[in-house]
C-alpha cells in the first residue's frame, strides 16, 4: 500500500513538469484555433510555442546540475543540446510573429477589420460578386 502510494507520488513528481507544460501548450493551442481575433491568434501561437520551449528545456534539465558553462566547482552539467535547439526555435518564432503581425496590419488596411468572421463575410461577398 505504502509502496504504491510512493510510486504514484514519485511518478507524479517525475512528470508534473510535463503535465503543467502540456496544459499550457493546449491553452495556447486553444487560443490559436478558437479565437476570432487575428492578433489574439498570434498571441496564442506564441504561447503555444513558448510552452513547447519549456518542454524542451525540461527535457534537458538534470536535477542537481548546473548551467552548461565550464566552472571549477561544477561536476554535473545540464544538457546543452536542448538549449541550443530552443535558442534557434525562439528566433524562428519571433520571425514568424513579425511576419504574421505585418500581415495583420495589411489585412486591417484592406478589410478594415481584424475579426476573422467579418473578414470571412467580406471575402465571401467578393467571391459571389465575381
Amino acid at each position: 500500500m505504502d509502496s504504491i502510494f510512493t510510486d504514484i507520488l514519485a511518478g507524479a513528481l517525475g512528470r508534473y513538469n510535463y503535465w503543467v507544460v502540456i496544459v499550457l501548450m493546449m491553452a495556447g493551442f486553444y487560443v490559436v484555433i478558437a479565437s476570432t481575433n487575428l492578433v489574439k491568434k498570434i498571441v496564442g501561437l506564441n504561447i503555444f510555442q513558448t510552452s513547447v520551449f519549456i518542454m524542451y528545456i525540461s527535457i534537458g534539465k538534470i536535477s542537481g546540475g548546473t548551467a552548461p558553462i565550464v566552472w571549477a566547482n561544477a561536476e554535473l552539467y545540464s544538457n546543452p543540446l536542448p538549449h541550443v535547439l530552443i535558442l534557434t526555435a525562439i528566433v524562428v518564432g519571433v520571425a514568424t510573429t513579425a511576419l504574421g503581425l505585418s500581415l495583420i496590419m495589411r489585412i486591417k488596411h484592406a478589410y478594415g477589420s481584424v475579426e476573422e468572421d467579418e473578414i470571412l463575410a467580406l471575402s465571401q461577398a467578393e467571391d459571389e460578386d465575381e
Binding site: R15, T36, V39, I59, G64, P80, V84, V91, M105
Partner: protein, 364 residues
C-alpha cells in the same frame, strides 16, 4: 527524483539537497503563475491586456529557464519574447485597435481538438523518462560529447555557444536566414518611410504633427543608450564565456534604437540609421556568416569547418565563432530595427489619416 538524490555527488555540505527542494518550490510557483497568466489570456477581451500578459508569460518562462539551468535560453527569451515580440504586438495594436469587438464564439470543436491532443500527450508522458533524471537517454549518446569534449575541442567554456556555433553551426546559419527571410517578408508587406512625407500630404499643418518633445523621456533615453550599446557589445563578445552571443546582443542593440525611436520619433531615428544602410547590414551579416563557411570550403574543409581557418584547430574554432557571432549580431540587430521602423511607419500613417480613438474613457 529519489534516484537522482542518491546520485548527487557533492558531499561538502547539505547544499545540493536543499538546492533541489528549493528548485522544486521555485519551479512549481512559476508554473502556477504561468497557468494563471494563460487562463487570463484565454478569458480576456482587451487585446492590450492580452499582449501585456503575453509579455509577462514570456518573462515568467524566462525565469523557469533560469531555474532549469538554461541561462542562454532565458536571456534570449527575455530579450526576444518579453521584449521584441511584445513591442511588435503593441505596435500592431496601434493600427488594429485595442479591443476585441465580439466575445469568442463557443469553441466546442476547438475544445474537442485541444482535449484530444492534450490527452494524447499526457498518455504519452506516462512512460516517458522521468524529469531531471541524469540517467535519461536524452543526456547520453550525443550530449555526452558536448559536455566532455567541447571545452578542449572548441576551447570555450560556454558549451551552448560551442554547440550553437560549431557543432550545429549550420542550424544557426539557417536561423539567421530565417530572420533575414522575415525581413524580406515584412518589407514586402509594409514600407518604411519618413512619416513627415505623407503626413504633409494629408494636411498642411506646418510642423505640429511632429511629436511634441518629451524632455524627461528624451534625456533618460539619451543617458541609457550608450549603456545599452556597451552592454550589447559586452554580450556579443562575452558569449564564449558566459551566457550571451550574437542573438542576444543583436536584440539588445536593436532595443537601443527602438528606445530612440519611441522618444525622438521615426524621422530622427531614420536620419540616424538610414534604411539603405540597415538593409545592407542585414544582408551583410548573412554574407559574413555564409562567407565564413565558403572560406572554410576554399581552405579544404567542409562548409563551416572552422578547424581549417588557422594552423591550430582550436584557434581556428575561436576565429570562426567570433566571426559568425558577429554576423549573427549584425543581421539580428539591423533586421529588428528595420522591422520596428516598418511597424511604426504603418502606425504613423494611421495617425496621419483617420484618427481613431477607441479607449474607453473610464478608469475601469
Amino acid at each position: 527524483m529519489l534516484l537522482c538524490e542518491q546520485q548527487t555527488p557533492r558531499g561538502l555540505n547539505q547544499l545540493p539537497r536543499k538546492k533541489t527542494e528549493m528548485e522544486l518550490a521555485v519551479n512549481i510557483t512559476l508554473l502556477l503563475m504561468l497557468c494563471a497568466t494563460v487562463f487570463a489570456v484565454v478569458k480576456l477581451q482587451s487585446l492590450f491586456a492580452i499582449v501585456m500578459l503575453f509579455g509577462i508569460y514570456s518573462l515568467l518562462s524566462a525565469m523557469i529557464f533560469v531555474a532549469l539551468d538554461a541561462v542562454d535560453v532565458a536571456f534570449t527569451e527575455a530579450a526576444v519574447g518579453a521584449g521584441i515580440s511584445t513591442v511588435l504586438m503593441l505596435a500592431t495594436l496601434v493600427t488594429t485597435g485595442r479591443w476585441k469587438k465580439k466575445p469568442e464564439r463557443s469553441g466546442l470543436l476547438p475544445l474537442f481538438v485541444v482535449t484530444i491532443t492534450g490527452a494524447a500527450l499526457v498518455w504519452g508522458t506516462l512512460d516517458m523518462p522521468e524529469y531531471g533524471n541524469p540517467a535519461n537517454p536524452a543526456h547520453h549518446h550525443v550530449a555526452d560529447r558536448y559536455i566532455a569534449e567541447s571545452p578542449t575541442e572548441i576551447g570555450i567554456p560556454n558549451m551552448v555557444t560551442s554547440v550553437l556555433a560549431s557543432y550545429r553551426g549550420f542550424d544557426t546559419l539557417g536561423e539567421v536566414i530565417v530572420v533575414f527571410t522575415a525581413l524580406v517578408g515584412v518589407l514586402s508587406l509594409l514600407q518604411v518611410r519618413r512619416p513627415r512625407t505623407f503626413a504633409r500630404k494629408q494636411d498642411n499643418r506646418p510642423d505640429t504633427h511632429r511629436r511634441r518633445p518629451y524632455p524627461v523621456l528624451q534625456v533618460v533615453a539619451l543617458i541609457m543608450m550608450p549603456f545599452i550599446i556597451v552592454f550589447a557589445l559586452y554580450v556579443q563578445f562575452h558569449g564564449d564565456f558566459g551566457p550571451g552571443g550574437g542573438f542576444q546582443a543583436g536584440v539588445i542593440f536593436a532595443v537601443a534604437f527602438i528606445l530612440y525611436t519611441l522618444t525622438y520619433g521615426l524621422d530622427d531615428s531614420l536620419a540616424l540609421t538610414p534604411l539603405p544602410a540597415l538593409k545592407i547590414l542585414a544582408a551583410g551579416g548573412v554574407i559574413i556568416y555564409g562567407g565564413t563557411g565558403v572560406v572554410s570550403m576554399l581552405l579544404g574543409g567542409n562548409f563551416l569547418d572552422y578547424n581549417v581557418l588557422a594552423a591550430n584547430p582550436v584557434s581556428g574554432q575561436h576565429i570562426g565563432i567570433i566571426v559568425i557571432e558577429l554576423g549573427v549580431g549584425i543581421t539580428v540587430a539591423s533586421v529588428l530595427i528595420t522591422v520596428f521602423y516598418a511597424f511604426v511607419t504603418r502606425a504613423e500613417r494611421n495617425r496621419a489619416g483617420e484618427k481613431q480613438v477607441d479607449l474607453p474613457n473610464k478608469a475601469d
